[in-house]
Point group: C2
Chain length 296, copies 2
Amino acid sequence: MELRQLKYFVRAAELLNFTQAADDLYITQSTLSHQIKELETSLNVLLFDRIGRRVKLTESGEIMLEYARRTIRQAEEAKQVLMDLNNLKTGKIIIGSTYGLVNLLLQSATEFNEEFPDIQIQIVLGSTSDLMQKIRSYEIDCMLSFMPSSEDNQLDVMRLFSANLSLILHTSHPWSKLKKITFQKIAELPLVLPSQSYSIRNFLDETLLKNNMQLKAKIEINDIHSLLDLVNSKKWCTILMDTSLFHFPELVAVPIESKNITREATITFPSGIYRKASLVFFQNLIMKKMVMHNLV
Amino acid sequence: MELRQLKYFVRAAELLNFTQAADDLYITQSTLSHQIKELETSLNVLLFDRIGRRVKLTESGEIMLEYARRTIRQAEEAKQVLMDLNNLKTGKIIIGSTYGLVNLLLQSATEFNEEFPDIQIQIVLGSTSDLMQKIRSYEIDCMLSFMPSSEDNQLDVMRLFSANLSLILHTSHPWSKLKKITFQKIAELPLVLPSQSYSIRNFLDETLLKNNMQLKAKIEINDIHSLLDLVNSKKWCTILMDTSLFHFPELVAVPIESKNITREATITFPSGIYRKASLVFFQNLIMKKMVMHNLV
DNA sequence: TATTATAAATCGAAAATTTCGATCGTTTAC
DNA sequence: GTAAACGATCGAAATTTTCGATTTATAATA
């Protein structure tokens, strides 16, 4: 058993397709096939069921996948600790985010880069559940998301700030000074809404359902920035979390009058494993930003 | 970085002598030298200080040693879990013991072998501190010892039974029916004592010191069984924990009247890591034996 | 049902890596 | 000052890994 073989195995187990996995690993399919077999021989166990031309993990394979990841992780942690020890500010951090928080993330990423110009920041957008799965398999270092405080003790979830479902208006709009607003009133306005691919949209739809309300969007769009551009043009309004307004000084958020319009933004790490220096810095950066914006 | 290199590194770090380590690993010194250098290159860090013809670990090396062991351990755990899953009752368990408990261990070993004839039992005798160090570096699977309940949360210590410092006599001796006896009285008897290499002897000496007492042994011997043979010949007495009497039906233990004559026998595992099926069986065996002998 | 496309296994050769044995250069011990 | 001990280095040998081509089996399609 060698780390190389474990890495090959993990990728093959993830893709369940030797050809693709081999491409991904920049080796040939024959090499992968051979090395998997070698690993199986050394463990004296079959890791894959070869059913015809397709493969699936055996029970042993499922278990081995977990241990293989842990072993690789342990080795990478060793390397990272040594790098931190030597104050080597190089490498990469991979940060997951839901669409609703990518705005916040991008700002922090810029500041991060000023401190660590040689550390690459890789951003992975996805749904909360996508990202949680990636955290578990160590594919991302941390994630930003709106999340119901989960009881999973494999995850280290920290609260960042509360966000309220709000009507987003241009300051020139007569209602922009309101302290709050009802769904009934909103129904009168020309609405642009984010498309279903955003979790905010699901949250809005659920909230409407609970309130026995309906809202029809005149326009749907799958890019928050473009959406806000539209609102900025004074012709439209939208509904977003009030914290999505970074960089639009002429827009205001009016909280909606209803129950359960609050969501908690969180940053999540896999728990119990070494947190590299750069990642700790990133975490502090994000949290400091929260304080600065009085969002806490 | 490969597991092979980590294994080479760990052995070299333990022996701090490449030539010896290479012998131990059944490779040549040149191979070891080369592979260590390869590892250092891949980590971009020096693991050893080469001072003249001698080597010592760098700070990075010390840290790496810990991570290397963890990584190797994780890989071996994977293998073990798969073996357990397939009900493969083969392999090896390595059990540490202090001299005072090896008697108990040997009995259990015999029973263990009846259940798992294909699992090799390797017994490592040593002092409590020796063994604790070996537990920490995963050299032994568990250990039997008398131990003051340690607060180390890296160790999983379980109590087996209490043992009292006792005078050991032949049943024919007039004092053999006594319920207890003082050190003053014992001083009148012809004593054989275990030599300083046994922890029981240290414990006895400390207890005497606390009681402002002295005892002179006529004979000292570094083998408990031979010592008991002498006592069995009716000419001698000795002082041991009362639980050391297995297999000598004609000997009795008379507890000594004094404070702090009790020690707790314990079985200790490294905590938080997978315990293979055979080891769990061994643990149950030992604990069941305790119940059977009413030692709990 | 025959045909085609897909995917893993297998085989032999090439490439790369690991290992070895011999030797070199220091350092330590006597 | 000499000999022994030890790690580094070098080139060659052995082993392992990788590759490309081919085979085999299966699923999809005509």
